[in-house]
Symmetry: C2
Amino acid sequence: MLRPLLPRCARALRASAATPRLSYTLPTFSSQVTRRAYSIHPEAASTAQPVDVDPSKLVIQKTQDPKPLVDPSGLLFGRNFTGNLFPDPPPTKNPTEGWRAPTIQPYQNLSLDPATCVFHYGFECFEGMKAYKDKAGKVRLFRPDKNMERFNKSAARIALPTFSSPALIELISRFATLEERFIPDQRGYSLYLRPTMIGTQKTLGVTPPGSALLFVIASPVGPYYPTGFKAVSLEATDYAVRAWPGGVGDKKLGANYAPCVLPQLEAASRGFQQNLWLFGPEQYVTEVGTMNLFVAIKDKETGQKELVTAPLDGTILEGVTRDSILSLAREKLVPEGWLVSERKITMPELAEASAEGRLIEVFGAGTAAIVSPVRTISWKGQPVDCGLKEHEESGKIALRMKGWIEARQYGDEEHEWSYVC
Amino acid sequence: MLRPLLPRCARALRASAATPRLSYTLPTFSSQVTRRAYSIHPEAASTAQPVDVDPSKLVIQKTQDPKPLVDPSGLLFGRNFTGNLFPDPPPTKNPTEGWRAPTIQPYQNLSLDPATCVFHYGFECFEGMKAYKDKAGKVRLFRPDKNMERFNKSAARIALPTFSSPALIELISRFATLEERFIPDQRGYSLYLRPTMIGTQKTLGVTPPGSALLFVIASPVGPYYPTGFKAVSLEATDYAVRAWPGGVGDKKLGANYAPCVLPQLEAASRGFQQNLWLFGPEQYVTEVGTMNLFVAIKDKETGQKELVTAPLDGTILEGVTRDSILSLAREKLVPEGWLVSERKITMPELAEASAEGRLIEVFGAGTAAIVSPVRTISWKGQPVDCGLKEHEESGKIALRMKGWIEARQYGDEEHEWSYVC
């Protein structure tokens, strides 16, 4: 549709919604919740400053019908949800209001007009993060500032409103604390938290949503590998492309997920657990399924050991686990003589290293599994061996990374990455 | 996430959901409605054939509170909706059931669990089509088979179920007939119909949705240019990329729309009504905003007149209006000596033609406006004149195309493109 968009809309949008209004310094705080309806018309935003998220206004309406706990051994990812959440479905009427007071409410359906823009134009973004219980029974988040920073970037890219990062962390923290009985106090278990923002404008024009809803739901989850690592086999995908320069593949938008399912099913139909996204005629290795990818390799000439992951060039999701692994590698592997690189690496380079015995190990990295070791990659119908011995289910780096990260997630090691609720 | 996907899931999905189960021959039929919850688990689909859409099972529960009509002169695109729609929100339980019996219901909110996959992973696709009232008062659709064909392609690409195209056309036709009082009987007015399919599985794993909901809503709309054409000015966008070969830019998915809003706002902030998407270092001209683009040009050497639009290489939406214009051009312009081409055309080629006075006219093409004449394109900060004289708001081809297409839409000319409800 070619409806003209007024210049002042664009200016206003940039001034209000498209830029986070608070800087992302590491916050010093203590708890969490849901947000509610946002309502700010761009034309109003140019003159009035909309209200930001305000944890001091939190209203808690706890469920009167507490859900029973599921036996931790039976937990499946993202299938069981806790008793509460926090949206406030009706959008506000006052265009200058901004974010409404946050509320924690009993878990309940959202009631939305069928013309709501989230159903038609993909106005949706989300985050994946976890709350852990430490040995003292305290609830902890892991690097929530990184999630909030990315959440704001994702929202701004699709003209959804942004918010104060520390304020939302405080609300999420209070929410996780309220639901702490759902967090099993066993290693490997956690409460998966899903902050989600959707556009709620009820018109079919393709325009910046005049209202939005931010909600957080929580689902207790067990360890990704309950009986220890199990290395996966991947199929390299070159017939479909997940992301491209100038696109939105680096944002956590709903738009990036639905199109990934068919290539995954294609890989599965040939017996592979996941697909590996290649890009371009060079066949750059980018991501595996919905995780970042790390490759440990020895240099052909010098024998220098190098841990490589793709650079953030706009086609790679800015994974929090990716960032944590890079930090830990610089902290702990560089002193051991490793080179740590964010650089492009191609499938031919990887296959050559494999053939020459220089491919040390390969693993995926993401919030769900932390690390996911790779045994082989099928490329042009041929298996590329990723360095594991037959009896091994993980390489050494993946194993050590999991240990290092969990120590900080569960508070065994006090670290600024761990946020005590 | 790296959860393994079973090979049989993939096979089943291809067998059931990923392939339209009926061929797309031009249907011979007569009316329309909404569909309801689909529920088919891929693992079940391999053994049982799910039920297809069945118009003979249509249940009509008309609203008891008919909405007042809006004065046609006050109609805004996609803001007012008719009294009914047809979803059946609760997904079915029986995995082998397939599509449930279709129902027309009073217009109402959808009630969905906040974990529903449409809110998180962009499992949504839609169509845009219109119902017209002819001089005899009969309701007509325009090439609904083309919309259904594309709808099935879009659904299959994101692992949503497909359906019988003639059956859904019959249901949509009955729906449009039921709502016929909302269609003003004036030229340029119509009832915009929005068939939409969303994934409704309530889990956070990124997997093919085990259930889906198909609904259709309707909104009366006025002429795009109530007081005659008004040529627009475009800004060529090269810093953001709408679509990529191997991506999903040729499908009508929600995923393709939200990311388009910021570049549109950027263009608007500099005074342009829309942005023009360029692609690659060659600066191929692809689409304008959410419309296809046509260029009428004279050959530098021979003076041969040529009507050009970008080819369907996977980066271009397969527009129904685009297809209609190509057909009409071959039928009516070729005999006048025109060449009609689906080929790549670059911004430098266009700018050169403009500078040499060989650019005859440029126009967008889509369901909302039919054609939308372009006055200038701002490229690298310089205006490229698109051939209109100062007092003109449309070129001759755009004007004639609009007339030819409307004659078939409103039934002035009996043609197989017009489907009488």
